[in-house]
């Protein structure tokens, strides 16, 4: 018994700050349980959320998880920056610092950026293409619950058993048992594998949805740009996640079952992990940034009151980026010395990506040219993105210059580069999208004034944090350094950077305040079209009814809704009573939730090599699969009368 406890709570999870956090977690869980019981909300939670297969609700669950993970990853970042603020600082114990930068990176990429994007995919895509749900609603719920299982498993690591500590890239042989005997790396591998299955399913799901379920008349070249970017993101996921799965799986086999893939000795080849990891890792960058590009391509025309400039060029550049992103992965390890031919090839292919990216940026600016720009919060995030991403992209080209990369590899210059790209691209993008689609998700608006405060605080903190890090790179500071001596002159810039990080933290708090305040006092969106939008989702009431479209629209233009409004048809855009037929919708199901729980149990057992627990979980997985194989009763019909009633109550029915 005491042995089990010692494995569950090793010394590194008994540090004062961790204990405080543990108590906080337990208390907040108890509070949550108490509130749910007191308000008699358990049934509501189960029926409306945990078993839901409605894409809009799954989107909201992704959004809430992503915001929570943004908080956790952000706290990690602030602790990292506090430790680095001064030379020879020993604020954190040495091991804890390593855990923090590992969990920061992993959480921000896998458990913040991706679910945040999936939230927006789920919320917007079916509405934008005129569909009633995604192609595989139940698989969509499974994706979410697998993500949740992975995320929870990863997050309990710092309370139970110890966190991973080899960086988010987890290069072996540092992650092998010989150098890393704790359970932390198991957590990393298992939780990413579980979440990765969910992500792959999401990719397949959205690709199929977009390829097969567009409303009649919505040809490929009439799709909104966001739909295009989600389509290619789906393709990127589908092709990029298998290498990650294999890389993680092989490491896990090494650790748990004694194979010799990446070990030191026994013919192990750590290089191959790096190769596989970046075969995933580079497309991953575009997985998180292309949808953000798509969001900007929606936001800019709406708030400039103007058509998107150069739509065909935009589509072409998205496709070019997608294809190129598969032939650039070696630029993450030029310094592995694979030879000048390899390096030259991958250096040049990387530089080529700058061309379509540049085309996109110019097109956004030209979209604004001749428009009437409204500085809403969604638009402001976009406007901050352009300068930030330009710098990120330009420094990316510097890093693609192979000999320069030999100097800059793994230095703070690189850190600054990818934070500018990922925050300036992805985070600004998802926040822009969040403010933009918020009324469609919840039926009320986020307060613009507070949103602008959050924006200005966050963005100024952002530049103050990361611009000095470029300088630190020139000074020779490398990433993942726990501390540094005083004589190198790195102190002042690090201090500035830390201050900036705290300003960003403040910006995030203002944003949360903005959300909470608006939940209580926010303006209702009664029109369904608060921004004077251009695409089909704005033709629906906010929030959209469960079946989305009472009658599937026929599309005749790009920016269909805008054209309808221009031609005066929008006023008459009401549903004809006679056109309403029975609507076939998927039934809610407990299976996805149960599958998520089973995978969590499997994962937990594997982390500690407690095989009995793993087998119990595996039985749950098998039961879920068998259940869905024999379950033919997974959809239901909505009576046309119900649809008529609900449309009439929204004032949209024409008799």
């Amino acid at each position: 018994m005491s042995q089990i406890l010692a494995r569950l709570f090793p010394p590194q999870t008994r540090r004062p700050d961790e204990v405080v956090i543990e108590i906080g977690i337990v208390l907040s869980m108890l509070f949550l349980v108490y509130m749910l019981t007191r308000l008699k909300k358990w049934g509501w939670l189960w029926r409306e959320w945990l078993t839901s297969v409605d894409h809009k609700k799954i989107g909201i669950m992704y959004l809430v998880s992503a915001l929570l993970m943004l908080f956790r990853g952000g706290v990690d970042a602030l602790m990292i920056r506090s430790q680095l603020a001064l030379p020879n600082n020993h604020l954190l114990p040495v091991g804890q610092y390593d855990e923090l930068f590992t969990t920061h990176g992993t959480i921000m990429i896998f458990f913040m950026a991706m679910p945040f994007l999936f939230a927006l995919f789920n919320v917007a895509i079916p509405l934008m293409i005129g569909a009633r749900d995604v192609a595989f609603p139940r698989l969509n719920a499974i994706s979410f619950w697998l993500f949740a299982a992975g995320a929870i498993l990863f997050n309990i690591s710092f309370v139970v058993g110890g966190s991973p500590n080899a960086g988010w890239t987890a290069y072996p042989p540092l992650t092998e048992l010989r150098f890393n005997p704790g359970v932390g790396e198991n957590y990393y591998l298992v939780s990413l594998l579980i979440a990765g299955i969910g992500t792959t399913i999401t990719g397949i799901n959205f690709m199929t949805t977009i390829l097969r379920m567009r409303a009649p008349g919505m040809t490929l070249m009439r799709m909104p740009m966001f739909v295009w970017t989600v389509l290619v993101t789906g393709a990127l996921i589908v092709f990029a996640f298998p290498p990650l799965t294999i890389a993680l799986l092989l490491t896990l086999l090494d650790r748990l079952f004694g194979s010799s893939f990446f070990t030191l000795g026994h013919g192990g080849m750590p290089m191959q992990f790096v190769n596989l990891f970046w075969l995933f890792g580079h497309p991953e960058v575009y997985i998180v940034v292309l949808p953000a590009f798509g969001i900007f391509s929606e936001v800019v025309p709406v708030f400039s009151d103007k058509k998107l400039f150069g739509y065909p060029a935009m589509v072409g550049s998205v496709l070019a980026i997608t294809l190129l992103s598969y032939v650039v992965w070696v630029h993450h390890f030029f310094t592995m010395g694979a030879g000048p031919s390899v390096n030259a090839f991958f250096g040049v292919s990387t530089m080529l990506i700058a061309i379509p990216t540049g085309v996109k940026i110019f097109n956004w600016v030209l979209t604004m040219w001749g428009g009437r720009i409204r500085f809403t919060v969604a638009m402001l995030w976009q406007l901050a993105f352009i300068p930030a991403f330009l710098v990120a992209g330009a420094t990316g080209v510097l890093l693609a210059t192979v000999p320069v990369d030999y100097q800059m590899h793994n230095s703070y210059f690189l850190i600054a580069h990818f934070h500018l790209a990922l925050i300036g691209g992805t985070v600004f993008g998802v926040l822009s999208g969040m403010y933009y689609w918020w009324p469609k998700m919840f039926g009320f608006m986020l307060n613009e004034r507070q949103g602008k405060w959050a924006f200005w605080i966050f963005v100024s903190g952002f530049f103050v944090t990361f611009v000095p890090q470029y300088m630190l790179g020139f000074e020779g500071m490398t990433r993942r350094m726990y501390t540094y001596p005083a004589g190198l002159g790195w102190g002042p810039l690090n201090m500035v950077s830390t201050i900036g990080a705290f300003v960003q933290g403040l910006g995030f708090l203002v944003l949360v305040y903005n959300v909470l305040w608006s939940m209580r006092y926010g303006e209702r969106d009664l029109t369904g079209d608060p921004w004077n939008g251009r695409t089909l989702e704005w033709s629906l009431p906010s929030p959209a009814p469960s079946y989305n479209f009472a009658v599937i629209p026929a599309v005749t233009h790009r920016d269909e809704w805008w054209e309808m409004k221009q031609s005066g048809k929008a006023r008459a855009y009401k549903v004809k009573s006679s056109a309403i037929r029975p609507i076939h919708m998927p039934k809610r199901s407990a299976m996805p939730f149960f599958l998520g729980v089973s995978f969590f149990v499997v994962g937990f057992g594997m982390v500690f090599s407690w095989w009995v627990i793993t087998i119990i979980g595996a039985l749950g997985v098998i039961a879920s699969l068998l259940f869905s194989a024999f379950d033919y009763n997974d959809s239901e019909e909505i009576d046309p009368e119900d649809v008529r009633r609900s449309e009439a109550s929204l004032g949209r029915l024409e008799i």
Binding site: A166, L174, G268, D305, W456, V467
Partner: protein, 291 residues
């Protein structure tokens, strides 16, 4: 609206102020990468400068264009721009947007490829000094196969002579990096990678690892002491005569987790430099023997 206009300035100026002040201080010696002391580092810096200028040619006009657009076309009765909601195509722009970046990329790409190949070749006219580098947990071990001496956490090299480092690891991966002399390269178990560097002038240059390798990673630092040729020969002689020799047991002690100061050894056991099964050849020598 004009009120909000004014709040945009802080965000425009703060980073600029930081950049300017940092660039001014950039003349300081702290910016090691901007003060190379060898031909490799110098080549890399030249490319960095070239690429930075090319990128600035892109970035700055776009920033200006963006600012102009935002001022001219903001939704404000007094704004100057004409509203053209249907303008969405322009052959001229669409062609230029592909051609101009292509030219700029070509300007960077051509010298990049040239220098990538150039830096992969040792200068022919000089005989290099060969040093075998092994990264251990958490220290650097250097072996001079010709001189047959070994050091830990420091090396002496002759100035003005190219040094060929053959890098491997008996530990998790690290990168071998002396910023003032030139770029870094990985040290990996089971693989030998070559890297050549040269110091133009005598001096002490700091080296470190750029790849996280565990809790002692920040201690993976070493000193490179470039001295004139004669001083180097004297030092070799001195180490050979005065330093202790490295036994197999001593090597294993070094390979074990822990830190070390600077150490010298007059000899080392043969075959401690792990070799690869890939038949990799260096400097025209025959494939190394398996240990």
């Amino acid at each position: 609206m004009p009120k909000r206009q004014s709040t945009r300035w802080p965000y425009r100026w703060i980073p600029l102020a930081v950049i300017v002040s940092s660039l001014l201080s950039g003349c300081g010696q702290h910016y090691t990468i901007l003060h190379p002391a060898g031909p490799v580092g110098q080549t890399e810096l030249n490319l960095l400068v070239l690429a930075s200028i090319a990128m600035a040619i892109v970035i700055i006009p776009v920033w200006i264009l963006l600012a102009v657009v935002l001022v001219r076309f903001r939704d404000n009765p007094r704004h100057k721009g004409t509203y053209i909601p249907k303008w969405q195509r322009s052959k001229f722009f669409e062609v230029m947007l592909f051609v101009v970046p292509l030219i700029i990329v070509a300007v960077i790409a051509v010298p990049t490829v040239q220098k990538t190949y150039a830096l992969d070749t040792l200068p022919r006219q000089k005989d290099p000094l060969i040093i075998h580098v092994t990264s251990l947990d958490w220290k650097w071990m250097f072996q001079y196969p010709v001189q047959h001496i070994a050091t830990v956490n420091y090396i002496k090299i002759p100035a003005g002579v190219p040094v060929l480092f053959k890098l491997t690891a008996d530990s998790p991966m690290n990168t071998f990096w002396v910023p003032q002399l030139g770029g870094m390269e990985y040290t990996m178990p089971g693989e030998v990678l070559p890297l050549w560097l040269e110091a133009n002038k005598p001096g002490v240059y700091m080296g470190r690892s750029g790849q996280f390798s565990g809790r002692g990673f920040v201690h993976m630092v070493f000193k490179v002491d470039a001295v004139p040729r004669t001083a180097f020969n004297q030092w070799v002689h001195q180490v050979k005569t005065t330093a202790p020799s490295m036994s197999v047991a001593k090597y294993h002690a070094l390979a074990h987790f822990g830190y070390a100061g600077a150490e010298s050894f007059s000899s080392y056991p043969a075959g401690t430099f792990p070799t690869t099964s890939h038949g990799f050849t260096l400097t025209g020598s025959s494939p190394m023997v398996m240990p």
